[in-house]
């Protein structure tokens, strides 16, 4: 019998020899998911693979799934993908798909339940049909209610991602980091202990870059540094006045002055109309890194100076305001003086175009978004579009205007806590409103949280 068993064993071995004895499954291993402890709308899915692979996760509220994450960009054997924008307290089904070598594999469909959101999280209401309006982008912005938060809001008003700033800070700007892994925001401390905070989108880490006198806006440059507005307080006729300057800050917190508004204006001849002790009131910053992102010498900065009702252009190479649009010592004149803006907030600027949130140019108690065609040869600014909602909205600071496709504009009525999408004719298409008393900081747009970008 033993001999017969050996013969059968040998026979079995020979019968399968050379017939493709490699692994027949490329399914991901050790697949697991958990509600993210920091963000209740987030689930982290992890798995391993036997060889370097990339993968993605299909997910949905039914076993048939329906949504997918982005595919991983680099091959690895230890995988983690975060699913954003989930509904809190809800069971989700998910399935991992991998690409290993030239092989595809998938896991079984499993389930996970998301956590609960904090009670302080604001709720948003929307009007207008997102499909008809074409509002299909996500908005990242600071929102301040009882405490400052940074949120990513869907076109339907759903909070897809959030982070609470628990310290008594003012948050006016949020952007996605250039590595697409984090959200950056300014945490402005009245006591001067300000910083640019980096929070990983998956909630896994938080760090900060201290910036002395940090102002209302910053931009992450291609070189990884930050260009930021910062306070530049100087003595003017025996009175300390807060002006603004541009600084470049390394990730380690080393700041270098790039330009100062004091080099462009003199408070004696160009007084601002801000509160006592403030002069220029820089509210927003736009950076044009030029054709070569790595050659910093062609960088150009645009700064909105709320209290001077002016927007200035400052080439890095000179540090001087070579173009001034607005009320104070302008180099560019408005084709129709009635179209001049007053107390500008957020804006977009290029050599041919300027779109700005005009807090007070349309008259008392009425703010508007306005756009100009610029001719910097003739030094003229001609109104090309504007939007004034009805009933009127009035903002006191910040705000923003995004230029979308098909002539649509996304207007951020900051202190009114509202976003409007207007068409090329200035008609409202869609609106998102925060809770009563909420104020919004400068926003950026992105198509997805899987591959976030900071579209102005």
């Amino acid at each position: 019998m033993r001999a017969a068993a050996r013969v059968l064993t040998l026979a079995s071995t020979l019968a399968t020899a050379g017939c493709g004895d490699e692994a027949k499954s490329f399914a991901p291993a050790d697949v697991r998911a958990g509600a993210n402890p920091a963000v209740a709308t987030l689930v982290d899915v992890q798995w391993t693979t036997s060889a370097p692979a990339v993968g993605y996760v299909g997910y949905g509220t039914t076993p048939s799934l329906g949504s997918v994450s982005a595919i991983e960009r680099t091959s690895t054997t230890q995988h983690k993908v975060s699913l954003f924008g989930l509904t809190p307290g809800t069971t989700y089904y998910y399935q991992v798909v991998i690409w290993q070598g030239h092989d595809a594999g998938e896991s079984q469909v499993q389930s996970v339940t998301t956590g609960a959101v904090p009670t302080t999280l604001p709720t948003f209401t929307t009007t207008g049909d997102t499909s008809e309006s074409g509002m299909d982008e996500l908005v990242l912005m600071p929102v301040t209610t009882t405490k400052p938060l940074v949120v990513v809001v869907s076109p339907k008003g759903q909070v897809l991602w959030y982070h609470e700033e628990d310290r008594p800070r003012t948050v006016t700007r949020a952007r996605f980091s250039s590595d697409k892994a984090s959200v950056l925001y300014d945490a402005i401390d009245a006591g001067g202990d300000s910083e640019i905070v980096r929070v990983a989108l998956d909630g896994s880490s938080q760090s900060a870059v201290p910036v002395k006198g940090l102002g209302n806006d910053f931009v992450q440059l291609t070189n990884g540094n930050f260009a930021a507005l910062a306070a530049d307080t100087r003595d003017s006729n025996g009175m300390m006045l807060r002006g603004d300057k541009l600084v470049e800050v390394t990730p380690g917190g080393t700041a270098t002055d790039v330009a100062s508004i004091w080099n462009c204006f003199n408070p004696a001849t160009a007084p601002g109309d801000g509160p006592a002790g403030e002069w220029t009131g820089a509210s927003a910053l736009v950076v044009d890194e030029g054709a070569s992102k790595t050659d910093e010498s062609d960088d150009v900065f645009y700064v909105a100076l709320r209290d001077l009702s002016t927007i200035v252009r400052i080439p890095r190479a000179t540090g001087k305001c070579d173009t001034v649009i607005g009320k104070t010592m302008p180099t560019v004149s408005f084709a129709d003086p009635a179209d001049a803006f007053a107390h500008p907030g957020g804006f977009n600027a290029s050599s041919t175009d300027l779109a700005v949130l005009d807090a007070d140019g349309a008259g008392a108690g009425t703010s508007r978004a306005i756009e100009y065609a610029l001719d910097l040869t003739a030094n003229t600014a001609t109104k090309s579009w504007s939007y004034t909602p009805s009933p009127a909205v009035h903002v006191t600071s910040l705000g923003h205007v995004s230029q979308l496709t098909q002539g649509r504009r996304l207007v951020n009525w900051s202190t009114a806590g509202r976003l409007d999408l207007a068409d090329k004719n200035g008609a409202q298409l869609w609106s998102l409103t925060g809770p009563a008393g909420a104020t919004f900081g400068h926003h950026v747009r992105t198509d997805s949280l899987d591959d976030p970008s900071s579209k102005p």
């Binding site: 013969v7 079995s12 399968t16 050379g18 017939c19 490699e22 070598g101 030239h102 595809a104």
Partner: protein, 496 residues
């Protein structure tokens, strides 16, 4: 008699048991022709005492000792299945890859023409009154699966959609023996291929990115032709050192190949209805042309068999034969379709089809066959049985649905009943292939993409798809292959 039966039963049982550890042949062919040989699992090189000896060992014709006519047919059910591996359809991901490629699974496909009802064997042998001589003529198609058809939209379509290989071997043999000590024989064989058809789908896309699932420029290509004469020769010998032991040796000794003159037909799988006359035209030197050649090498073969004869006086009661068969399938590196620079024109493109190689990289095979006869009632009834094992002809990386690449094993039973001068022989055989699996990463059969410009070693980031680094195009033979055949043989042998 009882003792003989028990001895034969034990020997047959031993053959069935031990032969599972043995090995044997594959490639284009499955098994052997002739009910006697088939019923013994192909262990017939030494015995070779009917007209099928023309192929298995022509020297064995001298065992016949008279004139016989042998007519039969082989019926077979040849099931082949293929389950293509799932893949990611990168052609459906966004250009910025923010939309992941969908995970695509494929339905299992199978041969739609498994039944092969007509597979005749016709032969005559005679010694013409010369005691030590034998001559034979035989006409048959080699044992195999002539036709396989798969779905045009199946997961295998980039490998093959259809194959039809009709082959006829014309055999003329002569043999001579020296008493009952040894014999020599030779067969001249003409291999005629009246029809050789091969079809597959190719991707006509000129773009670098792969279309592993389907392409809007999928083109159905079918080549059909014939080669009516390929010369082959088989030499054989047997020696009987003792009355109880007989050794047979034979070999197919010419390195020949089938080279068909064929016609190539191409058409879009899904013509664009919005385009007028959305067709593919073929021409050479600006003159319409569709003539191509398709080359398939034939193996050389060596057979060595030894059989033990249990005799009762001069009468053989049973025998057990063990054969080894070696076939040089390593001659088959690819099936080569040479278009002689035919240019295909479609949708504004002119693509030189050049040479299409269907990679094979086959290996030499070795098979062991064990079988024997047992005379139940002298001159009335004989039973036989056999088993065999054949090493895989293909490496899994080059597996294809066109032929069974994996290790083959099987068992057979047979019987003969005699009615005077007429013998009716039957055989039943089950032949299976060990499951062959190949991952897409290890597969080496790639989508035919003649308009592509991805150069070896296929790492050019501009002209090659980075998702398939190291490959000219998506691999298309990854998956699981299974095959089995159920074969029945029926013959009538008339002995004058």
């Amino acid at each position: 008699m009882k003792q003989h039966f028990l001895t034969g039963l034990c020997a047959t049982t031993a053959a069935l048991t031990l032969s599972a550890a043995a090995r044997a042949d594959g490639g284009y062919f499955d098994g052997v022709k002739g009910a006697h040989a088939a019923g013994r699992g192909g262990a017939f090189t030494a015995r070779a005492d009917d007209v099928s000896a023309v192929e298995l060992n022509p020297a064995g014709l001298t065992h016949i000792g008279t004139t016989i006519i042998q007519i039969g047919n082989r019926f077979s059910y040849n099931q082949r299945t293929y389950q293509r591996n799932p893949t990611l359809d990168w052609s459906q991901s966004g250009t910025d890859e923010t939309t992941p490629p969908p995970y695509v699974t494929f339905a299992k496909v199978s041969n739609k023409t498994p039944v092969q009802a007509l597979d005749p064997f016709i032969g005559v042998a005679s010694n013409f009154g010369l005691a030590d001589w034998a001559f034979a003529f035989a006409l048959f198609s080699p044992a195999g699966t002539a036709r396989e058809v798969y779905p045009n939209d199946g997961g295998q379509r980039y490998m093959m959609t259809r194959r039809n290989a009709q082959m006829i071997d014309w055999n003329l043999s002569a043999a001579w023996k020296y008493h009952e000590l040894f014999g020599l024989g030779v067969t001249l064989q003409s291999v005629a291929v009246p029809t050789l058809e091969y079809g597959l789908v190719i991707d006509g896309s000129p773009y670098p990115h792969g279309n592993p699932v389907s392409s809007g420029l999928d083109i159905r290509a079918n080549v059909k032709g014939s080669d009516l004469f390929t010369l082959n020769a088989i030499l054989g010998a047997w020696v009987r050192p003792t009355p109880n032991l007989e050794i047979g040796l034979s070999g197919q000794v010419l390195p020949s190949e089938i080279q068909t003159k064929s016609k190539l037909a191409v058409s879009f799988v899904q013509p664009d209805p919005t385009l007028p006359n959305d067709t593919v035209t073929l021409e050479r030197n600006n003159v319409p042309a569709n003539d191509v050649t398709l080359t398939l090498p034939l193996p050389m073969t060596a057979r060595l068999g030894a059989r033990y004869r249990y005799l009762d006086g001069d009468r053989e009661i049973f025998d057990v034969e063990l054969d080894g068969v070696y076939e040089t399938w390593s001659r088959v590196k690819d099936f080569r379709l040479d278009s002689n620079n035919i240019v295909a024109s479609y949708r504004g493109q002119n693509v030189n089809i050049g040479v299409i190689d269907i990679a094979k990289d086959w290996r030499d095979t070795f098979g062991i066959h064990l079988g024997g006869d047992f005379v139940v009632v002298p001159k009335r009834a004989t039973v036989r049985a056999g088993v065999y094992y054949e090493t895989p002809v293909g490496t899994p990386a080059y597996a294809n649905v066109d032929f069974s690449d994996g290790a083959q094993y099987g068992g057979a039973l047979g019987a003969s009943v005699y009615f005077g001068k007429v013998e009716v022989a039957v055989a039943g055989e089950y032949r299976a292939q060990s499951t062959v699996y190949v991952s897409d990463s290890n597969s080496r059969v790639y989508q035919q993409k003649p308009a592509g410009s991805c150069p070896a070693p296929y790492t050019d980031g501009t002209n090659c798809d980075p998702r398939y680094t190291g490959a000219p195009s998506p691999p298309v033979n990854g998956g699981t292959y299974d095959a089995y055949s159920i074969v029945g043989s029926l013959e009538a042998i008339y002995r004058f």
